[in-house]
Subunit: 285 residues, 2 copies
Amino acid sequence: MIANSIIPVLINGTPEDRVSSLDRGLMYGDGLFETLAVMDGEPVFWSRHMTRLQAGCERLGIPSVDADRLADEARGLLQDTDRCVLKIIVTRGTGGRGYRTPPNPQPTRIIQRHPWPDYPACYDEQGVNVRLCEQRLGFNPLLAGIKHLNRLEQVLARQEWTDPDIMEGLMADSKGNLIEGTMSNLFVVQDQVLTTPDLGRCGVTGVIRAVVMELAGELALQVAVRDLGMTALLEADEVFLTNSVIGIWPVVRLGEHTWQKGGTTQQLQQRLVDLHQEGKRRQQR
Amino acid sequence: MIANSIIPVLINGTPEDRVSSLDRGLMYGDGLFETLAVMDGEPVFWSRHMTRLQAGCERLGIPSVDADRLADEARGLLQDTDRCVLKIIVTRGTGGRGYRTPPNPQPTRIIQRHPWPDYPACYDEQGVNVRLCEQRLGFNPLLAGIKHLNRLEQVLARQEWTDPDIMEGLMADSKGNLIEGTMSNLFVVQDQVLTTPDLGRCGVTGVIRAVVMELAGELALQVAVRDLGMTALLEADEVFLTNSVIGIWPVVRLGEHTWQKGGTTQQLQQRLVDLHQEGKRRQQR
């Protein structure tokens, strides 16, 4: 179904779906993206996504994006849409000479409206199976954290399996520390401590990751951001994944090892749903 | 001048310059490219570039490109052109779900004709100054060697300097071994040994790098492919850079350290020019 859908796209505010082949986003992956859940017609955690996008622009030296204009454009694309996925891409535009960037870049803004993926509700409730990917994440402190367009590591990792019962692959860095899933962040819970890997050398600092770390305080959980090895993963009481579209997925199996969906994961899921409801109520006022 | 030029482009054989914003080349850098020198109307080392492109396709799981069709298309774009740079981009095309690749990808072929950069001849003769970049190359054995579209490390490295007297930046890996320049491969000569860094964990295996390694045999040079540290670089008798457009550039300065352009570099430059001439004569027969 998705393959035949027409994906509505705005490029620099104009309804069209093509960009120059000279765009540095294509030539070098010289740009950033955000993937937002849209619920009840509203992009969820919009301002957090904009903050990360701006941080990425700053890191790459791309002029900052006018978030109000982007919001107007997104609103136009979301008319009469209740639930979908909004993908925003910002590239450095065309120009420069080889890798050298142009002195006055004119960024390209792309907004795409994708269908909501409709994952079965049982993933939330009963959890998902994961695997460990062979593909590692290279150290790159200057690119770590931001959601840039250089995603071949994730593409290669996702090519490692076709089993439809495995919903995500965990990725380690070149030293063997677990970092994240191909499309999600990773958390483990043990002894009332919520641990998520340090993303200072690789990985993407997910918006829901940040939300979950904030919610943890309300549940009197201690939060630890540190290196996470395989042993700590296997010994954890609870394991879960986060991203903007899936929210929170409990992890229940990796190979032969199983975990139960735990009470902490369930509480965090509930608080996340509550946050969405609160956001909705605020918008309705 | 370059900024105002119109760059002729063929996309899948059609004279147009735009691609879908859903192309995985843009969304994830999911593709490859080749940059070829065109001299006397002919792409130089065409078959070597095609071999590397096919190796890259194989590594990424992109269907192999029909090199004959690509050659026909390139020929069409090069009519009445004596000297230019040909850039060929092959992406996985559109489709798939997130990072997951489509089962039957339809690759996108992009051929761009760029103006010849007209570097001053004195770079060949007197050599160039280089710097050492802060930006490191992350380890990524599965991506090492191929010329893929994830080039943010190079873009960030090239942003580190604006001094027009510095023509290239050398890049080290995360352990501090020198790997290559932002747009070139690195060689050092000492005691009749030609050394170039091992590219098994990061870096691009340049076409001219391979040619130079072959030519070295004719000059009775021993060739070593191994880790190259800063000390070995500074102690070298000769240092030079290679790529398809610059050919061979002697390196004469890094910070306070200077090298002379040496006899070996000069001999290799001459042999490379001879090869071009031989190629031309073969085409004329």
